[in-house]
Symmetry: C2
Subunit: 212 residues, 2 copies
């Protein structure tokens, strides 16, 4: 569906080029919103703050999005299209278990460092979804995407190492995610060491998830 907007639909009979323009505006808004959300977190981010940190006014936000949840929800869906295919290239090009492990861990620490804010926001939103029903659907959708991503890596790893996964897909995801979340939470306190610690720990765990 590619980030379709069942949203505010501001223009009813949009011209052929207009619908693209609207979509572009929405994406621009979303990207700006994501920047602010990543810095302040869900709770402390207001629509006015989002508008302030962008080239738009707060009225525009409500013109392109029905309400706050609609915007956030759109942001989340937009974000997901970017995040879950992060390791796909590594999975496809790796020709040995070590290739895969090194590539995977490299990408992982890279995104931890370069997109810390976005990961913070993700864990924030997942927590918020426990209290706000309207976020639930989008959050679980992303969770499934991430789970599948980890599963692709693990099964490929098993292939290369000549074994098979010793745990099911949700378990594998929960374990890796636990390590990653720990790294995201602790990153602010020690940006130097945390990435390497994470890499080492995941590397240590990976083989344990494979059975001969």
């Amino acid at each position: 569906m590619s980030v379709t907007a069942d949203a505010a639909e501001p223009t009813r009979s949009a011209r052929v080029s207009g619908i693209d323009k609207v979509e572009r505006r929405r994406i621009a808004l979303a990207e700006s919103a994501l920047k602010t959300l990543g810095e302040l977190g869900y709770a402390r981010t207001s629509l006015r703050e989002i508008a302030n940190n962008s080239e738009f006014t707060h009225g525009v936000v409500h013109y392109y999005f029905r309400d706050k949840i609609d915007l956030i929800s759109y942001c989340v869906r937009y974000y997901k299209t970017k995040c879950a295919q992060r390791y796909d290239e590594v999975v496809e090009t790796a020709e040995s278990a070590d290739d895969l492990a090194v590539g995977f861990l490299g990408k992982m620490t890279q995104t931890l460092v370069e997109e810390t804010a976005m990961h913070r926001l993700w864990y924030d939103l997942r927590a918020q979804s426990m209290f706000e029903e309207q976020l639930r659907a989008d959050v679980t959708a992303i969770d499934e995407l991430l789970e599948q991503m980890i599963w692709r890596i693990l099964t490929r790893y098993a292939d290369l190492v000549g074994g098979s996964p010793a745990v099911d897909s949700p378990t594998a995801y929960a374990l890796v995610d636990g390590l990653f979340e720990q790294a995201v939470v602790g990153y602010a306190a020690d940006p130097e060491k945390v990435p390497d610690l994470l890499a080492g720990r995941v590397r240590q765990i990976l083989p344990k998830l494979i059975a001969a």
Copy 2:
């Protein structure tokens, strides 16, 4: 330090029985606040809402706590004294690896079911602490406590099984916590199956964390 209050200190020359009374009031407020926080989450909980769901008025809250963060922070510290010793009895009384595993998993699923709201709040607060400095210290303190708790269980388990831990303490905690958080997040969607799934998964993982 046992939930000491470097807080509002409302009464300066409190009578000997007065200081207890103040502390009791604080605890009552905190317990009521935790109930509301557990239901609504950190962001959506206001001081007035906390007061409404209690026998006190909103003025009293500010009489016993300097501000909102002071209250939340006190709640968190109060909560931690209850949560981290949950498995201690099991660890001490278990005489076989199976004893320990069964007891541990039992308590774990029990607290998942009976104190879901409190666990939701915990993951919410940990996420918030990434954005709100004032929560950071208390949150990491609890995290360390929980880590030590898991470590006690794992080392005891290793003893009983005649091996030694194959991962370090932070890793073990991150893995188990990942599984538990997954269960907490998913509990609302399927309260029937999630506890058993969690138990099964942890049981599957435990032996993998031990080296001969």
